[in-house]
Amino acid sequence: MNLFKWARTKSPWIIHFNTGGCNGCDIELVAALTPRFDLERFGILLEGSPRHADMLAVTGPVTLQVKDRLVRIYEQMPEPKHVIAIGTCAISGAPFKECYNVYGGIDSVLPVDAYVPGCPPKPEAIIDGIAKLIQKIKE
């Protein structure tokens, strides 16, 4: 097996970005880091710079202001890279579909590899989504 691929699937480094949501998904993602759920024991690290990240975890319905920055962060990530959309807003923008300043759904802007539904999804669901994506990468 490709050593590089093995190293990546063992411990993905995730960069988290909020595109204008209510912060509900963000706090459940941060909660996933806390001792009760402990994302880090899976070797998953929340990383600050896109340059070192394998996965982009995005929340929110993509406001107009934020779209360029979202795309830029994605472009700065090295290949191979993956995107996980967390929460109903990130999937379809649903609660904000009548809002004029919102694109609605991450996949209107970036290619998405995994979707974690929920409003917000519980930390367990987020971890499950990330784990499933890791599986998918392994294959």
């Binding site: 406001t63 107009l64 202001q65 009548e98 004029y100 300043n101």
Partner: protein, 157 residues
């Protein structure tokens, strides 16, 4: 509702013909409609004399042809007095109250962004909420702009 009625009486005496209408729908709520030219006069009196020092926010409302600007002031955090003026849609402008109540600074900017009301004398009416690329002269909370119309404009970006 003694205190509320007392306040209404004081306002009536102070503003005289500039006071168009008042309502006291329940305790701790007063609604006042005044002539636009008396705005600063009234706000100064309310803030300095009647101790309505706290401005909770400023609301804009599109009445169709006219825009209403409502200032929500609170007395000791308790009684909320909503004082309103109307301006024409064609040339919507009111004097600023930021020198009387510095806390008004962002609320005026917000109403400017969303309704196009100019607050004369405001130190900086640059956009607060809308993106840089937002088309000039398009005030999203005006009724004339339907959602699909706004989306079309912004998707051209």
């Amino acid at each position: 509702m003694e205190k509320e009625n007392e306040i209404v009486e004081k306002l009536k005496n102070f503003l005289k013909r500039n006071l168009v209408r008042t309502t006291v729908p329940k305790e701790r709520r007063i609604f006042v409609y005044i002539k636009k030219d008396a705005l600063r006069h009234a706000v100064k009196y309310l803030a300095k004399d009647l101790k309505f020092k706290h401005l909770s926010t400023i609301t804009g409302v599109d009445l169709g042809g006219e825009i209403e600007v409502i200032y929500h002031l609170a007395y000791k955090g308790s009684i909320v007095l909503s004082i309103r003026v109307t301006v024409s849609e064609k040339n919507p402008s009111v004097p600023t109250i930021t020198d009387l109540i510095p806390g008004a600074v962002l609320y005026e900017r917000e109403v400017h962004d969303l309704f196009g009301v100019k607050f004369e004398g405001h130190p900086d009416l640059s956009p607060l909420l809308l993106p840089e690329e937002w088309p000039q002269g398009v005030y999203p909370l005006r009724k004339e702009h339907e959602l699909e119309h706004l989306r079309e404009m912004t998707s051209k970006k």
